[in-house]
Structure formats: C-alpha cells, structure tokens
C-alpha cells in the first residue's frame, strides 16, 4: 500500500474533525459510507458522481470552491465503477491538481481485480477497499488519517 504523504494528514488542532468527501453513484452505498464515517467522528459531504466531486473540491474550470475554502477536505473516498467519470479518473484529476494533489484518495470497489487495484495505487490512491464497507474498514482508515 502507498505510504501517506504527511503534510495534509496532520490535523490543525486537536479539535479538528476530518472532513471527508464520499463519492458514489449508488444511493444506498452513499448512505452507508456516510454513516460509517460519521460513526468515526468525521464530517461528511457526499457526491453522486465525479464531476460533482470536482465541483465541490473547487477543481472545475469555473474555479469556485463551493465549500468556501473553510471546510477543507482531508480525504476523498470514491467508488471505482461510476458512469461517466470513473473513480480512477477522479483520482487522476485530483492528483494532477496543484491544490488537491496531497489529499489522500481511497478507492472502493465491489470487484477484487488485482490489475485495477495496482492501477489505482500506482496513480497515488492511498488505499483500496473492497465493498461492502464495514465499520472496521472505516476505523482503520480514520486511524491512519489521525496519526
């Protein structure tokens, strides 16, 4: 698994709560990941596709950061299989941006395909998690984020 780059993982103060952007086209999965993250004391924003996620991250050509710069995203967790822009393509766009490239991106997928996993890790994904998501997966993730 790729080692985390330390800079954006350090919370600014002990009271900071990680802000996670969760991206998934499936409504049930969005609800589940949101609850799992909230249970791990994260603030959560959800998006149902890649373009919307980019918009929320302020990475669209309009340049407007819809989250007004104060709610900085500490982690992006995205489904791999999405119509239009895949999670892999979203990962690439984030890693290509100067502003967001240090933000850890986690990919989720229901399919355990080694070439897919390697491709994502090589592109800079922090972690690859198999669906369905469990509390232990999210705890492991948020523990890494807080250290």
């Amino acid at each position: 698994m790729a080692a985390p780059s330390s800079s954006n993982w350090v919370m600014e103060s002990a009271h900071d709560v990680p802000h996670v952007l969760a991206v998934d086209d499936n409504l049930i999965d969005r609800k589940l990941v949101e609850k799992l993250l909230r249970n791990s004391s994260c603030k959560v924003t959800t998006a149902e596709n890649g373009p919307r996620a980019l918009e929320l991250l302020g990475l669209t050509s309009g340049g407007q950061n819809s989250m007004n710069g104060r709610s900085k995203v500490n982690l992006v967790i995205t489904d791999y299989c999405m119509p239009g822009m895949t999670g892999y393509e979203l990962l690439k766009k984030i890693k290509e941006s100067s502003v967001m490239k240090e933000v850890p991106v986690v990919i989720m997928s229901s399919e355990n395909i080694p070439t897919r996993i390697n491709k994502c890790l090589e592109e800079g994904a922090q972690m690859f998690i198999l669906k369905p998501l469990k509390q232990s997966d999210v705890k492991k993730l948020t523990c890494q984020l807080m250290n």
């Binding site: 086209d25 499936n26 409504l27 049930i28 999965d29 609800k31 589940l32 609850k35 799992l36 249970n39 299989c81 119509p83 229901s110 669906k131 369905p132 998501l133 469990k134 509390q135």
Partner: protein
C-alpha cells in the same frame, strides 16, 4: 405477549434468515450502526433499498422487453442492484445478480429473462421477511422493550 416473548420471537425469526442465506454478515453491520442517535437506521436504509430495487427491476423488465436488447444497459442496472443488495446484506438477491451478470456478458436474452425472474423472486422473499421483522421490532419498541443486539448462533 410480553416484551420477553416478543424478543424471543424476534430471535426465532431472525436466526433462520441467516441460516437460510437470505441475509449475511453485512446486515449485522447495519444493525450495529443503529444506536440511540439513529434508532431507525436499518429501516431507513432498507426502505431506500426497497425503493431503489423496485425502480431497477422495472427498468430491467423494460430493457429486456425491447426488440433489440441493450445488454450494457441491462448489465449496468444489475450491477447497481448487486451493489445495493450486497451493501445491506441481502445475500440471495446479490447472488442472483451475480448469475444474471454472467448472462448479460453472453448477451443471452432468454437466460437473462430467467435471471430477472429469479432476482424478482428473491427480492420479494427478502422484502417480506424484512417487513415482518420490522413489524416485530415495532411491537417490541411500542411495548417499551429494546431490540436484542446480540444474536448468538450457538443455540
């Protein structure tokens, strides 16, 4: 029935759902996410699943009814249904979707139609079972009791 009897009824109803494969461990994950802050979490998620599944099953019926079947579209719908059933622990629905996807790949309309029937059947079964389970839970809560949090499978 007193609360104790209702709770035993809940246990007696729930255990076979796991033994018969209607539900798997992922459903237990959902139950563990339910707490005082979110006392209706399981019902909420499962209700979303019902709505979403019914829409997908309608779309699948329509897609397979076309003169020229768009198997990519059919597969996309089945993929969604497989994902959501897996996320809530509806194991038999998930497994039926897995089989369905194989026939989409083969572009076999007849086999797909049979799979759709199978998925619909499994969906109806699990829906009935979950609705019954939720009714038992409502009765327990209405009687001032709490839903058992531990299912020991050793009994």
């Amino acid at each position: 029935m007193d609360v104790g009897q209702m709770q035993r009824q809940w246990i007696d109803y729930t255990k076979p759902l796991f033994f018969e494969g209607f539900l798997d461990g992922q459903f237990l994950q959902l139950q563990q996410l339910q707490d005082e802050n979110n006392p209706d979490f399981v019902v909420e998620v499962v209700s979303l699943f019902f709505e979403d599944s019914e829409r997908l099953l309608k779309d699948l019926t329509f897609a397979l009814d076309q003169n020229v079947v768009d198997f990519k579209k059919v597969d996309a719908h089945v993929h969604q249904l497989k994902g959501s059933s897996s996320s809530i622990g509806a194991q038999r629905v998930k497994n039926a979707c897995i089989a369905f996807r194989n026939f989409c790949e083969e572009q076999n309309t007849d086999a797909c139609l049979r799979c759709l029937q199978q998925v619909k059947q499994e969906y109806c079964l699990v829906k009935n079972k979950l609705e019954t389970l939720f009714r038992i839970e409502q009765q327990i809560v209405a009687a001032g009791g709490s839903i058992p949090t531990e299912l020991s499978f050793s009994g």
